[in-house]
């Protein structure tokens, strides 16, 4: 177990907070990936890794912010860029991926997939998205 030389003058409360957020973030990322391996269907599996992208990323970003802020005695907030970026982009990618999977399942006629929205739902443009 190597010591961390550059964190020599880190106070105990900051070390506790950093450790807490690190353990929380990494454990949630691991739990999300275990769920991703174990769940049976794709539409259930797509929910599991979002544990890692929401609080997994949030915890580790917060640990990094606390660590560098306390260590350099000035606010260091550039890690929040990663948090904002991941929070904004994950729903976009997962919606695209779920729609692609739904499209493929419907095209192959697999059972257990909701049917296409009826034609009258396409007339109201705002409703057509939610009706699927």
């Amino acid at each position: 177990m190597s010591t961390i030389e550059h964190a020599g003058d880190l106070p105990a409360w900051a070390a506790l907070a950093v450790s807490f957020f690190l353990v929380i973030g990494a454990s949630l990322a691991l739990i999300g990936t275990i769920g991703f391996v174990r769940l049976p269907t794709f539409y259930e599996r797509i929910h599991a890794p979002t544990l890692g992208t929401s609080w997994g990323t949030g915890g580790i970003v917060m640990a990094s912010m606390i660590f560098f802020t306390v260590l350099s005695t000035r606010p260091v907030v550039h890690e929040i860029l990663i948090g904002i970026f991941v929070t904004v982009t994950t729903p976009v990618t997962l919606m695209l991926l779920a729609r692609a999977a739904l499209h493929r399942d419907r095209a192959e006629g697999n059972p257990g997939v909701p049917r296409e929205a009826p034609a009258q739902a396409e007339e109201g443009e705002g409703e057509a998205v939610t009706a699927e």
Binding site: V18, L22, F42, P49, G52, S64, V92, L96, L97, A101
Partner: protein
């Protein structure tokens, strides 16, 4: 004391994230359909981004933060392009 706590929690976080990356790689090699593999690639990207941030805390260098930012952006672009490919059969229409 605080050194010990910090060092152990960082090792724990690194081990957790490496196991998570291995599980995502397992799903990518085993996953029954193409969308499972794309989602596994996205999970692998996110976990490697988090692992690089833990490396950054461990070494105290800013270069790891920049690397994890680049990995996050590339992961977004790659997953969107692959999802579009699964949907349409081509990326640029």
């Amino acid at each position: 004391m605080s050194q010990t706590i910090l060092s152990w929690s960082m090792t724990f976080a690194q081990i957790c994230l490496v196991i998570a990356m291995a599980l995502a790689a397992l799903r990518m090699s085993r996953g029954p359909r193409a969308q499972d593999r794309v989602l596994a690639l996205d999970t692998l990207y996110v976990n490697s981004m988090l692992l690089l941030m833990v490396f950054g805390i461990r070494t105290g260098k800013v270069i790891y933060f920049e690397a994890s930012l680049v990995i996050g952006m590339l992961g977004f672009v790659a997953t969107v392009a692959l999802a579009k490919f699964l949907m349409r059969g081509e990326v640029i229409e």
